[in-house]
């Protein structure tokens, strides 16, 4: 199977959906003439023109609201936020209009819109440019939150998100854009709310998504190599809707669970997953659900400090051995 980078996979998804549906258009800062701040939309303005690929002023609240209004009128906008840090400015529109408009109108309105952009920390971007936002958006009923961890899932889920009639928060990662993975040819649409077991195992369930998926996989390799521990890695792929059943089914087999995230620990997605697992698997758990998280600080700039902020595969190994009560 061919290998594509995340960037290429997302570009293909955008290309295919723009070709397929004349009601879709991409709008955001630098998406057109600049070919995208992270080059995800490379070549699309040349191919589809300025009507379908639109450069917006620096007005996140305004152009996210525009997208929501256009969706309300029946178009299918794809709004790029340069990073999810900047989308905080647009949160009123996303959370108070898009997430609630259908409910408040008794089903009269719908908002088939996708908001996409990179989420979380990369390298040396400092505190304002390094935040993880899955939990903030997944908190709101009415939104869907998608966090692909592989290029194949990025392509399949972006197509799914664009075709979805609800507002979707699609979270990528600056670091991941260059990562490669196998992507099948042809039309593959990955449904929402379906987790994937990225690595089968029998000793412990690791739950990880997005950028942290690689970390969990590396941790699993390390555990297999050094400790003879076989970790199963369950990738939810979408945080809302969350495939609770897949996670619970895995933990009921392994008897232990570690959630792996790079973001902050307090009130993050891992806290919700812990709640689900401890309620549904209490009788089979041999230890509490443990979590690997980033350090609970605004992200530092200096390289050695940033290194301390982010978990690595040793953090995963330590957590698993703690969960399994393995010494040494």
């Amino acid at each position: 199977m061919r290998e594509l980078t995340f960037r290429e996979a997302l570009n293909e998804a955008l290309d295919e959906e723009l070709a397929r549906d004349q009601d879709t258009f991409l709008m955001g800062e630098e998406v057109g003439a600049y070919n995208g701040a992270y080059k995800v939309s490379r070549g699309l303005m040349d191919k589809y023109g300025k009507k379908r690929v639109v450069d917006a002023p620096i007005s996140e609240l305004g152009f996210c609201g525009l997208g929501i209004g256009a969706a309300m009128a029946g178009l299918r906008p794809i709004i790029e936020v340069m990073t999810w840090n900047f989308a905080i400015l647009a949160m009123d529109q996303i959370v108070n209009t898009a997430a609630k408009g259908r409910y408040m109108s008794g089903g009269a309105l719908k908002f088939p819109i996708t908001f996409r952009g990179p989420n979380g920390a990369a390298h040396s971007l400092a505190a304002q440019h390094s935040q993880w936002f899955e939990a903030q958006y997944a908190y709101f009923p009415g939104l869907k939150v998608v966090v692909p961890g592989t290029p194949a899932d990025a392509k399949g889920l972006l197509k799914s998100a664009i075709r979805d009639d609800d507002p979707v928060i699609f979270m990528e990662s600056e670091t991941m854009y260059a990562w490669k993975g196998e992507v099948p040819e042809g039309e593959v649409v990955v449904p929402m709310g379906q987790a994937k077991v990225q690595r089968p195992g029998r000793d412990v369930t690791l739950v990880a998504w997005g950028k942290a998926l690689r970390l969990a996989m590396q941790g699993a390799e390390k555990l297999a190599r050094e400790d003879g521990i076989e970790a199963e890695v369950v990738d939810p792929r979408t945080i809302r809707p969350l495939d609770e059943r897949a996670i619970v089914e895995s933990v009921r087999r392994t008897g232990a669970c570690v959630v792996v995230e790079e973001g902050w620990p307090y009130f993050n997605v891992g806290a919700q997953i812990s709640d689900i697992v401890q309620r549904a698997c209490f009788d089979v758990l041999d230890s509490p659900v443990l979590r690997v998280s980033g350090a609970d600080v605004p992200w530092p700039y200096s390289m050695p400090l940033e290194k301390l902020t982010v978990p690595d595969e040793s953090s995963v190994q330590r957590a698993v051995k703690l969960a399994l009560n393995v010494r040494g």
């Binding site: 996210c64 209004g69 178009l75 009123d92 529109q93 209009t97 409910y103 008794g106 979805d164 449904p191």
Partner: protein, 354 residues
């Protein structure tokens, strides 16, 4: 000749296209008697509906916030009549007058205020979240200024599709200080979207008079920042509203882009049912009542020989009965069921083949 002030000279230089309450004979001069009487009836319906809604609120059949449109009827009716079917109308939370102006029957609107399942939003929205897509009314939004980028979006969709539809967006004079107003008007002008931004300037943002909140109190002048036409009009005169909106709509349909209209109006009651309005004097309210749009139109109709007072009194009586019937309908309608709690959070998904 009096020397013009520096501001007046600056205005002309900065925004030469600006039009300040100029008495240009407008389209309204061509309206026939039946149309005028129909506008009268609609304003009276809104007035009576709002008065009865206030009573129902005091009886605790309406809960939460209830923002009355009493005094501002000319803005909604003049605007609605100047639009064509298909044109989008979006508003904030003082929206009862606007949905009624679009032709939604009063029964389902009152039922929504009561929270009944027969309400326009199936009881899920309430006073601030009224919608009637079939009559082009897209809400009904509670965050001050939040509806303005939405209107930019529907107008953008019209450009995208080339469908010739116009979008009208209502907001108060205090909303123009929100960032959303600024961002939306910039893009609206930049992309020449067919939008009419109608500021209902009733002089008070809740309890705050405009000169306490705003560096520029003549709202229409802010249009100059976006190179957009800005115009003030008499929001207590339904025909002046009709003319101003018609002009702006024609401009938009010709592809000339958006307009900022400042409709100078007044609410005779407080900001909401919770507001005793101690921030303005009795004298001020009494003076403004002399500008009541409904008797003003009555005078025009009678003076023009289109109808006699007795006829209009007959309409008033019919409207009273219509509103009473709306209350009966709302009273007798069922509540939503428990299962409705989880309905319409998401669009029901078709069967997905993995």
């Amino acid at each position: 000749m009096a020397t013009r002030t520096r501001t007046e000279r600056a205005d002309e230089k900065v925004n030469g296209r600006q039009d300040r309450s100029v008495q240009v004979p407008g389209e309204s001069a061509r309206l026939d008697g039946a149309s005028l009487v129909s506008m009268y009836r609609l304003m009276q319906l809104i007035r009576r509906f709002e008065e009865r809604a206030a009573q129902q609120y005091s009886l605790q059949k309406i809960g939460g916030f209830c923002h009355l449109y009493i005094g501002q009827e000319a803005v909604a009716v003049g605007t609605s009549r100047a639009l064509q079917p298909g044109d989008y109308m979006i508003s904030a939370y003082r929206d009862h007058g606007q949905i009624l102006a679009q032709g939604t029957p009063p029964g389902p609107v009152m039922a929504e205020l009561f929270g009944k399942v027969t309400g326009v939003s199936r009881g899920k929205g309430g006073s601030m979240h009224l919608y009637d897509v079939g009559r082009d009314f897209y809400g009904g939004w509670g965050i001050v200024g939040g509806q303005i980028p939405l209107a930019l979006g529907t107008a953008y969709a019209s450009v995208y599709r080339g469908d010739g539809k116009v979008t009208v967006c209502f907001f108060g004079e205090a909303a123009v200080n929100q960032g959303a107003f600024h961002e939306a008007l910039n893009m609206a002008a930049l992309w020449k979207v067919p939008a009419i931004f109608i500021c209902e300037n009733n002089r008070y943002g809740m309890g705050t008079p405009i000169d306490v909140s705003s560096a520029v109190t003549e709202v229409y002048r802010r249009a100059a920042s976006y190179n957009m036409p800005g115009e003030a009009c008499d929001g207590m005169d339904v025909l002046a509203m009709y003319d101003a909106v018609k002009r702006a709509a024609d401009r938009a349909r010709r592809g000339e882009g958006p307009t900022l209209l400042e409709a100078r109006t007044y609410r005779f009651r407080g900001h909401s049912m919770s507001d005793p309005a101690v921030y303005r004097t009795r004298e001020e309210v009494d003076t403004e009542r002399k500008n009541d749009p409904i008797p003003r139109l009555r005078k025009v109709i009678v003076a023009g020989g289109h109808a006699k007072d007795a006829e209009l009194d007959g309409i008033d009586a019919k409207v009273d009965e219509e509103v009473a019937e709306a209350i009966r309908f709302a009273d007798e309608s069922p509540w939503p069921e428990p299962k409705d709690l989880y309905a319409d959070v998401y669009v029901p998904a078709p069967e997905v083949k993995a």
